[in-house]
């Protein structure tokens, strides 16, 4: 699971290396990646919203 | 199902979901606005007065602005141009509708609040804006607005402006709307 999250995080950051990628595509289940991607998108929204709310004070 | 059909089936499901989502966004947006106070939207349901300690240490000016929209020969006037109230204090202000035409007509006053954050702290107990008004030819109607500003009104807000814009309601229109758009509130 941690590996999946790490890969998706790398995707959000936009950087991923070759070795890591090969590993993802040998072992990972696609559903896990999609779910983690959606979950992290939600987390991103929450984090940015929190930053905005704090900044607005 | 072969894999191509499966892919097509899944995309079509997503597609229909997104089309429905577009329509779902209408009530969602409405609800979101009321929760966050975006757009100065106020709930269209009466709320009851909450007995809370009146904050006598500060005064807030509440302004009333009435505007006439197109196509309705009515006049809407507030009894006072503005009042000064304490947060927490229930206040009643009278408004007068008059129909200067020779026909019976239906109209609605659409409310808006400025600054928009204030709408979260405004409790309308009784308001003519909750419903349509029907006025006979030449009729004059006095209706009260009863409201309360909550105690937690942010300290930097010293003036709250309530604006009411008059719009005509075609008789056929109000019914059609209730049919096609049940989500927009049962009081239409």
């Amino acid at each position: 699971m941690w590996e999946v999250i790490k890969s998706v995080l790398a995707a959000f950051f936009g950087v991923q290396n070759e070795r890591q990628r090969h590993r993802d595509f040998q072992h990972g289940k696609p559903v896990a990646f999609v779910a983690a991607g959606i979950a992290l998108a939600v987390v991103l929204v929450v984090v940015v919203a929190a930053v905005a709310i704090v900044a607005a004070r | 199902m072969n894999p191509v059909q499966r892919t097509v089936f899944r995309t079509v499901v997503v597609l229909m979901g997104m089309f429905a989502f577009a329509f779902a966004l209408v009530p969602l947006y409405d609800a979101f606005c009321k929760v966050t106070g975006i757009n100065g939207k106020v709930g269209d349901q009466p709320r009851s007065i909450v007995n809370e300690q009146v904050d006598t240490s500060r005064y807030v000016t509440v302004q009333f602005i009435t505007r006439s929209g197109k196509g309705l020969p009515w006049q809407l006037e507030a009894e006072h141009r503005q009042v000064r109230v304490h947060p927490g204090q229930p206040t009643e202000v009278n408004f007068a509708f008059s129909n200067n035409s020779s026909k019976a007509l239906t109209g609605r006053a659409v409310p808006s609040v400025s600054p928009s954050q204030a709408s979260l702290h405004l409790r309308k107990v009784q308001c003519f804006c909750f419903e349509e008004q029907r006025l006979e030819a030449g009729e004059r109607l006095e209706v009260p607005l009863v409201f309360q500003l909550t105690r937690d009104l942010p300290p930097d807000i010293n003036t709250v402006t309530l604006v009411y814009t008059l719009y005509p309601v075609a008789d056929s229109q109000s019914q059609l709307q209730a049919q096609t758009l049940p989500v927009r509130g049962g009081d239409v």
């Binding site: 290396n17 607005a56 | 757009n39 505007r67 197109k70 196509g71 309705l72 003036t159 814009t165």
Partner: protein
């Protein structure tokens, strides 16, 4: 943190000043309010950051294009990945962005300051003019384009303030906090004066607000910024900022004039004075759509000259002018014009351009319909 912020803003405004002297009329105006100056320096700061990034990035690119072209005998390498380089060039932009977001957030917060204002002005957008009401002061007027049509059509030399001149500028005091309440009678407009850094949509049925404290007297010009129909280009804004005491005098004069006009409602008005007043009102309010000669522009704007339906039905005529027609650009003028102006303009429309109804509508008749 604060220090580096201040430093960045300082550097930005220095570079900004340097370039503003160079590029007058090529750049955003610095403006005459706190907020406008802050926005300007933010704009210049970010502009220069972009320039620097651009120089570095394009520098590397053009160096590569020059150095590694095949005509110079370049042999291609085969690398295609370097994680540390990629992490660095992702992280550095992130830091730069945080550096941009900090001053931007600070400025934005200063723009959203709802504290008590000393003057409230209601700004109403209409197709295609602005209506201003000084709330609680009994002063309101409509401000429309005064550039003559002949200049637009090229029959006459265009003057210096071509398309940026109005018959009645909005007068505001210097040094006082003014609150604008923006709304619209028809479509969405946007009230924009660059020197005040105020741009706010005016939306039918809703009220937006904005604040300004002007620091220097002067004349500031702007335009409607949201497409609002055919004459979107022809609804300018002119703000005349004057010293506070001059403003008070001006406001008192306007109140007196309004009171005088109000007292004139009850008396009997003669045809000639109604026509004279009516022509003036027609020219500033009605002529943009219905044309100075009453010929209109079918199908949207009906002709008034020779309009039998209108001439035969005085009540209908009064109703349309007072209450507007929903779903068309015809606004309800009951709130925008006083009884004298309404009576005069209706009388004018019924007796000008060959219309010969002979009706002289009295302000008192109109007054009765407004109560």
């Amino acid at each position: 943190m604060r220090k580096s912020l201040a430093w960045m803003m300082g550097a930005g405004s220095f570079l900004g000043l340097a370039s503003s002297t160079l590029a007058n009329g090529w750049n955003m105006p610095v403006g005459v309010t706190d907020v406008s100056r802050e926005i300007y320096s933010l704009h210049m700061t970010i502009f220069w950051i972009c320039v620097v990034i651009g120089i570095v990035v394009f520098g590397v690119m053009f160096y590569s294009l020059f150095r590694y072209r095949r005509s110079r005998g370049a042999k291609s390498a085969n690398f295609h990945e370097n994680t540390s380089v990629e992490v660095v060039w992702t992280a550095i932009p992130l830091l730069i962005l945080v550096g941009m977001a900090l001053p931007a957030t600070a400025t934005l917060k200063r723009m959203y300051d709802p504290s008590e204002a000393e003057l409230d002005v209601m700004v109403t957008g209409q197709q295609w003019r602005w209506h201003y009401e000084y709330l609680g002061e009994d002063v309101s007027f409509t401000s429309s384009l005064s550039t003559p049509r002949s200049q637009v059509n090229g029959e006459e030399e265009k003057d210096e303030n071509y398309l940026l001149d109005v018959d009645e500028p909005l007068v505001l005091p210097v040094g006082r906090k003014v609150r604008f309440l923006m709304t619209s009678d028809d479509v969405i407009h946007s009230w924009w004066v660059p020197d005040l850094a105020v741009k706010q949509d005016s939306i039918p049925g809703f009220v937006n607000e904005n604040w300004v404290r002007i620091e220097e007297p002067g004349i500031y010009r702007g335009q409607c910024a949201e497409l609002c129909g055919k004459d979107h280009a022809f609804m300018p804004i002119v703000v005349r900022a004057v010293e506070a005491d001059e403003f008070d005098t001006w406001l008192a004069e306007r109140q007196e004039a309004a009171a005088a006009e109000a007292s004139g409602v009850d008396r009997e008005w003669g045809m000639d004075e109604l026509m004279e007043r009516g022509e003036q009102v027609y020219g500033s309010i009605c002529a943009t759509c219905h044309q100075p000669d009453g010929s209109g522009a079918e199908p949207t704007f009906p002709a008034l000259a020779g309009n039998e339906a209108l001439l035969n039905d005085l009540d209908r005529h009064i109703d349309v002018v007072l209450n507007g027609v929903s779903g068309t650009p015809m606004a309800a003028y009951r709130g925008n014009l006083n009884p004298v102006e309404l009576a005069a303009v209706i009388t004018y429309e019924r007796n000008a351009w060959g219309n010969e109804s002979g009706d002289a509508v009295q302000p008192s008749e109109i007054q009765a319909l407004l109560e």
